[in-house]
Symmetry: C2
Subunit: 312 residues, 2 copies
Amino acid sequence: MVTLGLDIGGANLKFAIQDYGEIIYFPMWKKARDLENELRRISERFNPERVGVVITAELSDCFSCRNDGIIFVSDAVKKAFSSELFFMDIKGKLSKNIDEPKLFYASNWIASSEFLLMEGWRNFIFADMGSTTTDLIPITNRIKAARTDHERLKRGELLYFGILRTPIFYVLPKFDVPLTSEYFAITADAFIVTGDIGIKEYTCDTPDGREKSLKECMTRLARSVCLDADDEKYLTELAHAVKEKMVERVAEAMKELSEKHDIEKVVGCGIGEFILEKAAEMHELEYIPLSEHYKLAKLFPAYAIAKLVELE
Amino acid sequence: MVTLGLDIGGANLKFAIQDYGEIIYFPMWKKARDLENELRRISERFNPERVGVVITAELSDCFSCRNDGIIFVSDAVKKAFSSELFFMDIKGKLSKNIDEPKLFYASNWIASSEFLLMEGWRNFIFADMGSTTTDLIPITNRIKAARTDHERLKRGELLYFGILRTPIFYVLPKFDVPLTSEYFAITADAFIVTGDIGIKEYTCDTPDGREKSLKECMTRLARSVCLDADDEKYLTELAHAVKEKMVERVAEAMKELSEKHDIEKVVGCGIGEFILEKAAEMHELEYIPLSEHYKLAKLFPAYAIAKLVELE
């Protein structure tokens, strides 16, 4: 039986089918109307018998409220696929229909967590750093995180920054000067300059619509402190400061959760694994990269929901 | 002689002619190509003999660098007006041509300061809070501020937030929960909810392209903490927290400059005067609203440059 896993986020569509997966940059706030067609293309390519779905796109401001977002997205899925559908809710339950939308807000990390529990993993912080956000989910022999994003923000289980789309002033309000509040530069610009990602991994749009080259990334960083890109040394330091601040903030949150739940181990995935690893090291937590255990660690929720549905 | 004052910013065009003035929302990053036509309309309406120009739009990311920005903007001015032109540089000098663009970066606060000095004002912090930024310029019997935005950021003479366009997480990173880093809500949304501005004063675009009504502003605030707009009391508190944080941060910067330069008086203008006044009060600095002395205090640099050019 061919099962497809779908993780429909606010900025990316991710899908996994057996050992194959893709991350498609899909800014929902611009392209919601194309969602059904985009999904139909996936459906036609793979013709899956079953599809497992997790949704986080409902917060996108193309929807009036999250309820409408869940309904819109799930309707698009229903229209695009003739397969048997399974939606995962925040309790980890799979349903063929969405009766109560609010139970389906931001459920992608639940699929990852439930799958890892099923695979026998215990006593760890499940960490998933993506383009936009970072999940830190304490798990003992069950999920100990809150079930809403608001509550997870409060507890440090959801850090609202990632390695591509986050305005740099969110993670680094001040360098040698306070940064401007304009949408001039994002974390992807910083990580091109630090060399942690290549141009191919800079999958989102640039803030100014220009190229993803080192020079243009430097120019964007420069603007954020009211400069031009003359001083490469200074701008490289700025990029590294962004990275260090992200590592520090993740490390701090990991430490707090580790102490609260008496957990010493972090199991990490997502395109930001390189940050998660450094953060775990900072407070001497054991770090296990999921990429050593699973091929599709960069889009783990999509992989996990496919696996969970396969076993349903 | 009819003299027009023009303040060309990154988000607004402001002009003053005698006692009349207008602020036109003009997002340069979207509309740079229309600049010449927009200016031509102003030229044809008023047919001024002289035009005084100050520019801050050069930092906009529609330009590769600030040098190009100054050249682009000054070229548009030259093409649109057949009047005698005067550009003010960061030393306060008026020139008919721009030979060295870097001397013309971010000069609008210079015009205001020079004009106030000429009018006899002494020993004060000139404060101008606009849609996007806040200038705090210490003036004794001369301007004591740095002459570049980067250096002014460092010294607290430029605060990069204002009462309309600033993402709320820039001024309030954390409420009861850390705010998300999405461009969901701006300070204008908060000030609609606090009642400090009306819909007509919300002159910039909304982040989600929806209405400027109280309900939609609340929805935008709610998104920024991963909620819907159910709890009006909570969201009103959030809006007030944004305001209070802005007042605090302005107050802190005022206090520092006041102590450094031994100045006890703040002279304020701009659409954010209501914040400046509260900030000055916080540390018992004397506050003088320029609106009690000049009709066009909301677009003071445009008014000031017109007056300075009149006397040239």
